[in-house]
Symmetry: C2
Subunit: 336 residues, 2 copies
DNA sequence: GTGAAAGCGCTAACAC
DNA sequence: GTGTTAGCGCTTTCAC
């Protein structure tokens, strides 16, 4: 079944293609009677404008690219769902690419989206330090970074205010009497992870034991191994903060395997909420944020930029907040 | 920065646009020296073929649409990630739309993807019974349903073999002595949920207590409320099966709130694995499947269909398997 | 083995 | 207010 073209609608309505286009695009100065005829003809032929041809002519694709380091991570898929919500309602489509953490795939995805002439690019990539990235982004009319940073780029950004949430978490633990707090955080190639580590150090104002801070890939395995290592130290931390949901899952697995009780043997805090944290027994303290809102905010920056291409770079900062549940108490007396 | 066009490359290489196109598309009968010159010119200008223009001419967009009922559900995002993996490596892009369970948004998304002329459509929609759906899908060159069914459609499908996994789960519970097993499953507007309910009934060969089977929206809230109701019955079930990951989260919340111990007071089985099920204390028995593989299989059906448009509809069935962990034991003696 | 020309479906400039 | 025309960047006959 071939689809109707504008020319066919025009023929049926007894007008020119230009007039059909005008009617369909809401151009006001069209004879009412003609408008009705055109609309009827379009209806009868079930005419749908061809987005490809329209893009070809206007230079706008009404598609937004979104490159994510790991779509299967509920955090990123929630961000994508939030972005889609806004974009869909403005008539844009989301072209999603997941790199599975591979910087090469990220580069390919960005190139592919460029060839597709997406109107904008939203980026939550694994490696914000990929060489030449900033230049390659210059061909895009709008770039929005989500919890990422890029030197030499005029991109708009959505950031989470990681500092306050992390500070509150650390303050909570210190108030309970924890002196040795461990942090297991993600790759330093992403702003979000760096911000959490920095906030952690700040909150401990210099009193930070370097051995208790581990960074690595954002994966369950990394979380598991790092927790095993930290808890095997001669003087293990009495509290542990997991820097993201996947690391947290690994930490929980390690804690189970070591038969440690939370919070009696170890206090625990997770960054980014999850079913696991909420429904863990006991429920886990979290530094939480709203991932949908992150996605919505990114989409809004995109729309604002497309509406006003020359405005100065914008930056949206969304809050994180610490929620104490039941996974931390005063540390047990240490046996010496 | 405007991008180079094929005409510019042609000028630089001293040939016609047609020849550039031939070189870039691997047409074999081109003079070697000319080929080298064209490649060099393309390289120097950093030429990237314009996908929109190419689509315009060839009628192929090299984009695949994917409509999901809830992208934020880790199951669907894992499926999408699996599909993207295959499609990306074949040069296709994924255009994703999440309907948040709203049939109207699903219809809109499908229409939008049609206008974009996606080469194929993958569907994991909330409402497979939307009126007129089958006809609207006929305009697509390839449609693949993931765990969905559509009468009157020649779509290819990927199904999970829900029956064996569910039967194994029920058999396991019955062997332990459970006579009253409750099931909390999803909407009957989706094949997956229907299949699980049917498998459950079959496994109990008619000995099904209708009051112990609840179906509804696939949400935490539904799971929570249904579990509360079932467990408040005069003769509550001694074991509960949750039909999906979100329902399961609700069930766990209800079980916690009721202060029931698993498995002593209640045996529990979840459908589709999750961190929550794996790391729950005790670990929860699951009817598991590989969601990435579901996505990969869908993508492969798409590619096969595009390669052979006239072949008969294909059907890929992927296994589910029951994994007993530690969330079920023999039911406690009932006090009469 | 290569070039010239047509045209995919649409919109925007320009004419009337 | 409406029609005519050109052209977005590419691929694909058809010549030669």
């Amino acid at each position: 079944l071939r689809r109707a073209t504008i020319t066919q609608v025009a023929a049926r309505a007894g007008v020119s293609g230009a007039t059909v286009s005008r009617v369909l695009n809401g151009y006001p100065f069209v004879n009412d009677e003609v408008r009705t005829r055109v609309l009827a003809a379009a209806e009868e032929l079930d005419y749908r404008p061809d987005a490809v041809a329209r893009s070809m002519r206007t230079g706008e694709s009404r598609a937004i690219g979104f490159v994510v380091s790991d779509l299967a991570n509920p955090l990123f898929s929630a961000i994508a769902a939030g972005a889609d919500e806004i974009l869909h309602s403005s008539g844009y489509s989301l072209v999603l690419a997941s790199s599975a953490g591979d910087p090469e795939r990220e580069a390919e995805a960005i190139a592919a989206l460029g060839q597709r002439r997406v109107d904008a690019l939203i980026l939550s990539i694994a490696d914000e330090r990929a060489p030449g990235l900033a230049e390659r982004l210059r061909t895009f009319r709008s770039v929005v970074l989500v919890d990422r940073q890029l030197r030499g780029s005029r991109a708009d950004v959505v950031h989470s205010e990681h500092r306050l949430g992390m500070e509150a978490a650390v303050a909570h633990l210190r108030a309970l009497g924890h002196a040795d707090i461990g942090l297991i955080a993600g790759s330093q190639a992403q702003l979000g992870s760096r911000a959490r580590v920095r906030a952690f150090r700040n909150a401990l104002d210099g009193a930070v034991d370097q051995r208790l801070v581990r960074t690595g890939e954002l994966s369950r395995e990394t979380g598991y191994l790092a927790a095993q290592e930290l808890l095997a130290l001669d003087e293990p931390p009495s509290a542990l903060i997991a820097g993201n949901n996947q690391l947290f899952a690994g930490v929980v697995a390690a804690v189970h395997d070591l038969r440690l009780r939370v919070p009696d043997d170890l206090s625990l805090v997770a960054c980014d909420d999850s079913d696991l944290a909420r429904l863990h027994e006991p429920p886990i303290d979290v530094v939480d944020r709203d991932p949908y809102e992150l996605g919505r905010a990114a989409a809004q920056l995109v729309l604002a930029r497309l509406a006003e291409p020359e405005s100065p770079p914008r930056r949206t900062v969304l809050p994180t907040r610490f929620e104490a549940r039941a996974s931390s108490t005063a540390p047990a007396e240490r046996v010496r």
